[in-house]
Amino acid sequence: MSAYLNTRVSLFSSQLWLDGELDSLISVPDDAVADALTRRGLPQLAAGFGGLTAPNQDSRSLEQRIIAQVLDETRVMIRPLSGDARTFLSFWTARFEISNVKTLLRSKMTGERPAAVLARLIPMGAFGRLDNQDLAHAEDVGELLRRLEAGPYAGVVRNVRRAFEESRDPFNLDAALDRGYYESLTLRALPVEKAVGASFRNLMANLIDRINLVWLLRYRFNYKLPPAQVYYLLVGSRYSLPGTRLRELAALDSLEAVLAALPATWQTRLSGVTDIPGVFARMEHIAAEQALRVLRSNAPGIARAFAYLILRERDLRAVRAVLRGRHLGLAEADIRLAVQRTPAEVA
């Protein structure tokens, strides 16, 4: 079975976009876009881009097609897996369903029509665990949360209802859902880390540390939340930035102070960064390099599959930016700037 997964991952990895190849998608003529996408194993995207002037092309359907592509590939890779590895990879796709939950919650707050919100939800296919029809027809946020509490995401939604009843603040809902999801993900990752070892653990470490650092900076300096609340909203971590370090960082008063208080290796990695998007981009770049190393190594299949999915999603975000940029008629230079994946300081 591992031979099947390894072969699959190796085949899929030949579809990843190197930076130069992505650049060619920016400059390729309109009628050659579909062909370029098909060559990279993106038939779902190519199907919607027969011609970039097609009237039915819009960003929402593009988003849905991109996720459909990721789900399709995950479905293929998950086939030979069982036990903890299968549970983990399945739950990795649950991010999209959590995003659906957020959409549903917002629609209830704004009184959006069920039909309209249903059309905006991401079709989860075989990975779908929620009855979207039923949830979309809930009368208000309270009823929706009660229904979610009785479903497969009870663990993620726990506390969300009470937090919402206390504050009626949509931020509380989003933050609680995100935290709940990543807490559940790290729990599911633990047995896989034990079984697989460093290659998988490093990928998880990069993911959770990046999330925690970026959230910490955003909550603390963009939303001006008090340190204790910021710390509470972060994901419980057992990686490079454990709880004690995160508490120290959350208590600091400026971005510069936080960056200066990071471990020495992190300071080297983030040298020259001056803002939060820069931190995110640099850390994502580091995570992508790490994922590429795992993908090219002889690490166990689940680690390589996870590394591939990390890289593929990064690729698809860039492809989406290129296609949107082309659709909006932006200049090639502007699109290049938007999809620049290698921070200038690193390059």
Binding site: E139, L225, Q229, Y232, G243
Partner: protein, 630 residues
């Protein structure tokens, strides 16, 4: 019975305001299968809003029925009309009001229940605080520099909250746990109280209101708790009364709403397939049996008095893949339909295999499990379990009867071969003959499947495949030639030369066809042609030999009985009969089950796979109750 009924594609155009009545009339008509509307000039979707309103109303109705119970059986008057869009929206709004009222009651009841649980926890807490000898009045005094909160939070979050609060100089002291909730005292500098407010809200902290009574004398606190409990009980009773009142108040109208929703369902369901239109015009598309066209016109005339336009045409070659299959079966054949449908639905125009399946399946089962006694047991069992098995019991009854018939032919009763003399042959005494008959049956069956496949291909317009492919007439010619050659080699007939020629012509034709069909480079083309041609011969050979299992199982049946008799004969009287009974039960359950599966396997893999694609679409008529599949 052997193929799907001929259908017409119809397009019913009418005033958009009457679309719901047209859909209702079609649902009452009972043989209209909605299909997507594809008229370029009618680009709007006039029923989309109707469907949306219906879906919302239906969801609310389901929730109300869940809460209030069923309102009784549904009777739809013959002359009832479907609600218009405005009526449906009004109905939906009314259902929303009712549901919101119910929800408020429900929510209030849930909160009361919550408060009651909290009160119980508070009582327990009081007991613990009493034992701790803590002066609550002193601890909770408002003017103190120390801010103290008493309350509960989910146990899973306690560690994190404790860590987070330590950043603000607050201490968390846990003093009790009830289920998943941990009760704790949080104390810290009052000046930093604001900082922790957001955190506590996020953590699901629930403040425990400690009334003045609780802060003074424990006895007074107990009295307060008792009063509070009584208040909650009274409140709960009042809420139940409200809910009962709602049921009484809305019950009859709720039933009427169910009727109206049922009448609105046909258009809502048709809209899923696609109702198109433009301006005040709407069009419903779908399939109806050709012979029902006049009846449909009469129905529409009676309802709309000419205010409609009905177009119809035969399925075009582009549409053929999406035409649903409607096959009508006589009652006696219907029990076999699910066994065929579990393989697939025949395409429109394809040969429907239910009748040959029923005959062949029973023949194979009887031939492999021929025994008067065992067949009778199966027959009686199936008849006894008729209520539970429903229509499928007839398959068991028929299989039992055929097993009995073959039992008479084989002369076998519960494995005893000396009670009844065989009318035809005894498998154990003439195994070669049984094997020859089984293979002969297989040859006949395969010839039949090749002919059916050639016919299906011909009907579908694939003439070249019907004539030259390995599963078409060329395959049949090769197969007959090969069979003739084998028979000649075995000395059964003297047709060796002619058969060899026939087989040669057949296989060369197949190879030439494969060569022309393969779209690849020269090397790959040679390889593909060679392998596929070879595969044709091997497959037909293997499929034919596969039928030897029919003989093998009929021999196996006798051999198993013999084994049981040998065991039984070595025992005393009681042991003998016990072994005979137990052995026969084993034969019926184990061998009967295996034979049933083997017969099915032969039908599916040696038969259906040769001519039956099984990827057709079932005809699902629009009906007044139930729905159309998405």
């Amino acid at each position: 019975m052997l193929r799907a009924e001929p259908l017409y594609r119809i397009q019913l155009m009418m005033l958009a305001s009457e679309a719901q009545d047209a859909a209702l009339a079609l649902a009452r008509f009972g043989v209209f299968n909605p299909a997507s509307c594809s008229v370029a000039a009618l680009a709007e979707s006039p029923a989309a809003v109707y469907r949306e309103a219906w879906l919302e109303a239906d969801a609310r109705m389901s929730k109300l029925l869940e809460l209030c119970g069923d309102t009784g059986s549904l009777h739809l008057p013959e002359d009832a009309e479907a609600p218009s869009l405005a009526d449906l929206q009004e109905l939906n709004n009314w259902l929303k009001q009712v549901w919101v009222s119910c929800l408020a009651c429900h929510e209030s009841e849930a909160k009361t229940e919550d408060a009651r649980a909290h009160l119980e926890a508070l009582e327990e807490t009081l007991g613990k605080l009493e034992r701790l000898n803590v002066d609550l009045a002193h601890l909770l005094r408002p003017g103190s520099l120390l801010s103290v909160n008493i309350g509960s939070l989910p146990a899973a979050g306690l560690k994190r909250v404790t860590e987070a609060l330590s950043m603000t100089g607050h201490l968390v002291s846990r003093f009790d746990q009830v289920g998943e909730q941990v009760f704790a005292v949080i104390a810290g500098p009052r000046a930093r109280q604001e900082e922790v407010r957001g955190l506590l809200a996020q953590a699901g902290w629930r403040e425990m209101p400690v009334p003045d009574e609780l802060r003074t004398h424990p006895q007074a606190a107990r009295v307060w708790l008792e009063e509070e409990r009584n208040r909650l009980n009274a409140q709960s009773g009042a809420e139940c009364q409200i809910l009962d009142g709602l049921r009484e108040q809305f019950g009859p109208r709720l039933h009427e709403a169910r009727v109206r929703l049922a009448l609105a369902r046909p258009l809502a369901e048709t809209a899923l397939a696609g109702v198109c239109g433009k301006g005040g015009l709407a069009a419903l598309s779908g399939w109806i049996p050709r012979r029902q066209l006049d009846a449909l016109r009469e129905t529409l005339d009676a309802r709309f008095h000419g205010r409609y336009w009905l177009e119809r045409h035969e399925p075009t070659s582009d549409e053929i893949a999406e035409v649903p299959s409607l096959v009508r079966y006589p009652g006696w054949l219907k029990p076999f339909v699910p066994l065929v449908k579990s393989y697939g639905v025949p395409r429109y125009g394809e040969f429907d295999p239910v009748l040959p399946f029923a005959i062949t399946y029973l023949l194979l089962f009887g031939a492999m499990f021929g025994d008067v006694g065992h067949g009778a047991v199966i027959l009686v069992l199936a008849a006894t379990l008729f209520r539970r098995l429903g229509r499928m019991a007839w398959v068991g009854i028929a299989a039992g009867a055929v097993s009995m018939l073959f039992g008479v032919l084989y002369g076998s009763v519960f494995g005893y071969e000396d009670i009844l003399s065989p009318l035809w042959l005894s498998p154990l005494h003439d195994p070669i003959r049984v094997l020859t008959i089984a293979v002969g049956f297989g040859v006949g069956f395969i010839v039949f499947t090749l002919l059916v496949n050639a016919r299906n291909k011909f009907v579908a317009g694939h003439i070249a495949e019907a004539l030259f492919d390995s599963t078409g007439l060329a395959g049949l010619v090769f197969y007959l030639g090969a069979v003739g050659s084998v028979v000649s080699l075995a000395g059964g007939a003297d047709v060796g030369q002619a058969s060899g020629l026939l087989a040669g012509v057949g296989i060369v034709t197949i190879a030439a066809f494969k060569w022309l069909e393969a779209k690849a480079g020269l090397g790959e083309r040679i390889l593909v042609t060679a392998i596929e041609t070879l595969e044709t011969g091997i497959n037909l050979f293997a499929n034919t030999l596969s039928f030897m299992r029919v003989a093998a199982f009929s021999l196996n049946h006798v051999a198993l009985a013999l084994a049981i008799f040998t065991l039984a004969n070595g025992l005393d009287a009681a042991g003998h009969w016990f072994t005979i009974v137990l052995g026969n039960i084993v034969i019926i359950v184990l061998e009967g089950g295996i034979v049933a599966i083997q017969a099915l396997r032969l039908m599916y893999y040696e038969g259906f796979s040769r001519f039956f694609s099984g990827d057709g679409t079932e005809f699902v008529p629009l009906r007044l109750e139930g729905g159309v599949r998405a």
